[in-house]
Symmetry: C2
Subunit: 472 residues, 2 copies
């Protein structure tokens, strides 16, 4: 037996014995190389062998992970057809009905848009908030209404800098969560009647905003692995002269996919050529499973055309409603719109959060959170592989807490949603994410909640219900 076979067999034993759980990251090549006294090439060969045996799989930039024991469902490989037309919308009702249902605590929340609030350091955050509230000075309650507290904007700008992204403190506007940031950004760069490019499928919040502002949605197909189709985007720009793109290039909601960085660079160059502002939704950017944060499109923006939107709601402080946009050229317009719509963001919330961030501990919390989400993903993917009908495909996100399941052709996801809800399980059916009602056989699954026994059973129930709905 060669060195690398020997190493592969030892690792296989660890996996089969359960010492390395499905979803766990294997030690880095460098670490094994030094601890076992073998060359990095030997380690690579061992990992390749394990991959060939179906026991581990590689994820771009993230290293090797233990595969789900019964194998995995295949990834969907084709993007949806791009809408050639712009579409007027009526998405409100189906979305609100869903939101109502998923917020009930007796429902297993696979359809929920939020991760479990139990994943966050609320007691420590509460202490920071308490200290900020007790020492709040009278003038601090009314200072810097819009763009928001400078102390917080500085902390946000510093974090961009650490990630190698240049953002000026004075282009940051603090908002009531990312949703307000995205809405203000869109309203700041459009007028009623304008066309706006969205992904297909896309976050339904984008469709609601487009509908409310009297805009037209242009859907551009988005690949379940690589993200937005740039050739289709080019055609859509030529055909519709959109006044904005609203995109989520990292850990896209609902697909979970991420555009590779070179494609993000291309995207920004293409939009710059046509002077189309990019509203970049990056609320999951910090929730990566790999070794570093995927750069947002904002990192490649040289002209101030990217309005980068994010928040602490998914990473640290749900319910505090603190988000922001780094809005480039459009920062003043966003700031003014904020002043005349909601005026300001809660001062104690802003200052409490700033105090927590300044005190350290955010990175430690994030590392734990990312590990937990990666672990939950592995568990959910595993259960889907075990329980869902043959022919099911699923995306393989490298971050965030959503993945996208394509059921066998003709399976009615809206009916699945209904039947599941009757059994106290929610899923988000595909048509919620499309202006034109596509994705009738798709569902979005939220793996942001611990996969306890009840949730495991719920995935089994879902698989059975789906199997009943497969035509023929």
């Amino acid at each position: 037996m060669t060195l690398y076979e020997n190493l592969a067999n030892q690792l296989e034993e660890s996996i089969r014995s359960g010492a390395l759980q499905p979803g766990a990251r294997l030690p880095s090549v460098r670490r094994i190389s030094s601890s076992r006294g073998v060359s990095p090439a030997t380690v690579f060969q061992a990992y390749y062998l394990l991959e060939a045996r179906g026991l581990v799989r590689a994820r771009a930039r993230a290293g090797y992970f233990v595969a789900a024991e019964n194998g995995e469902v295949p990834q969907p490989q084709t993007a949806s057809a791009s809408g050639e037309n712009s579409v007027e919308l009526d998405v409100a009702d189906r979305v609100f009905t869903l939101l109502d249902s998923v917020m009930k605590r007796n429902i297993v929340p696979f359809g929920s848009p939020i991760p479990s609030p139990a994943l966050f350091p609320l007691p420590r955050l509460g202490k920071s908030m308490a200290a900020a509230a007790r020492t709040l000075s009278p003038w601090a309650t009314v200072d810097e209404m819009s763009p928001g507290k400078q102390v917080l904007r500085r902390l946000i700008a510093a974090r961009y800098a650490v990630d190698g992204i240049t953002v000026r403190v004075d282009e940051i506007v603090i908002t009531n969560g990312a949703l307000e940031a995205l809405n203000l950004a869109l309203a700041s760069v459009t007028r009623p009647g304008d066309a706006v490019v969205v992904e297909s499928p896309t976050f339904y919040g984008a469709l609601q905003a487009i509908q409310r502002l009297g805009l037209r949605a242009v859907e551009v197909s988005t690949h379940p692995h690589d993200g937005l189709d740039l050739a289709a985007l080019g055609q859509a720009i030529a055909r519709h002269q959109p006044k904005a793109c609203w995109l989520m290039p990292t850990f896209q909601n609902p697909l979970g996919c991420t555009m590779p960085e070179d494609r993000k660079r291309e995207l920004v160059a293409l939009l710059a050529l046509h002077r189309v502002p990019l509203i970049e939704d990056d609320v999951y950017g910090e929730l990566y499973f790999g070794p570093r944060r995927p750069l947002p499109a904002k990192a490649f923006d040289r002209e101030g055309l990217v309005l980068h939107c994010s928040s602490y709601s998914k990473t640290l402080a749900p319910g505090y409603r603190i988000g922001w946009t780094a809005a480039g050229l459009h920062a003043d317009a966003v700031k003014r719109l904020k002043l005349s719509t909601t005026l300001a963001t809660s001062a104690p919330s802003q200052l409490g959060l700033a105090r927590y961030l300044a005190g350290g501990g955010y990175d430690r919390h994030l590392r734990k959170l990312r590990e937990q989400l990666a672990h939950q993903y592995a568990g959910a993917a595993h259960a889907v592989a075990r329980h869902f009908p043959a022919g099911t495909q699923a995306t393989r996100p490298d971050g965030g807490y959503m993945f996208w399941i394509v059921l066998p052709e003709g399976t009615d996801a809206v009916e699945l949603h209904r039947r599941a809800l009757a059994q106290h399980v929610s899923v988000a059916p595909g048509p919620m994410f499309s202006a034109s009602g596509q994705f009738g056989n798709c569902i979005r699954i939220n793996f942001g909640h611990p996969l306890d026994a009840r949730a495991e059973r719920a995935l089994e129930q879902l698989g059975k219900l789906a199997a009943q709905l497969v035509p023929g």
Copy 2:
């Protein structure tokens, strides 16, 4: 000398000696009657005599007050002409320029829209907030996103009930301050192109919202004493078929005037007849100088057509950004619009405020605040009487912290604003409050800040600058 002359002379002596200061409220008729052992009729006669001597003045429902020593400037008696046309707007720039200037701390803030943040019980509120933040449960961060925390909505409904106003808990939606409530209310009942009735002069926030939503403003003249001209409103309804009225019937911003309750009742009946929703801005309603809260129009609404909007920003908790609307028939629409624009209001802010309110002390704080504002008003009115040019008129608010000064015909209020700002004093010039740029000789004065020596001097400066601008 009769009994009442004797009593009047004693009181006059107290006033002349300074024992009773300008702006102070005289003891109630009942109290004097019992303490002096004279009949109530005698006390009334004494007060009438003092009024005739120009030493005291009566305020509706509020009792008698010591007049400013040099007399007072007369009240303006005529309303502006009603705009017969609806108007497209461009108010943004002049408003934002003003807001930028008044938020600077080195400026004497007579043009500011907010009262002094030093008037609020921030340390006690901070303790409630601290306790709420430390005990915030994970699910409380994401529960009841919209319409907002039930514990807070119940407290708000209970307060309406105490004031004799019937409001259901489930028609209340918590918002990021009253400004969001008003904006959501307007967007919920209109579509682009609709006409909306506003007062003339009106709060500029209404004009900004109308402009942003692509609506048309119909200005209806508003009397400096009695409020909106109901006959003119009837004509405006017939001519323009407005889809909403946005009004401030109590302590109107900028006039400071209040519609008598019987006229509010008429207003609601007129709007009900034509099924026109009323967006009622009542943010100063708790800041009355008289013996009780003036009833809002909402109190007379039997059909759910009044969307009553208020907040804690002006009465208790500036910077916390907690407001609400009791939106009647339109509550669901408002709730949904909130969900898709800013999602929710800061959970710790809501729960901190609820904890403060439940703990008692709000009423005691409000009594102190009202007295302080009444006192500051008397001081400011006195200084205006002393320092402003002959021919100046001023409204006499019974609450809130704004009054309206009409300078002699032809005096340029915008130029006054500019020259004052150069001397580090702000005023809000009249044209800010008009879609059609009326009120060129008017200014709004904020008396919500303690009238210290610097502020006194600033009013003297303002009077001198105004005198220089009175034409020939």
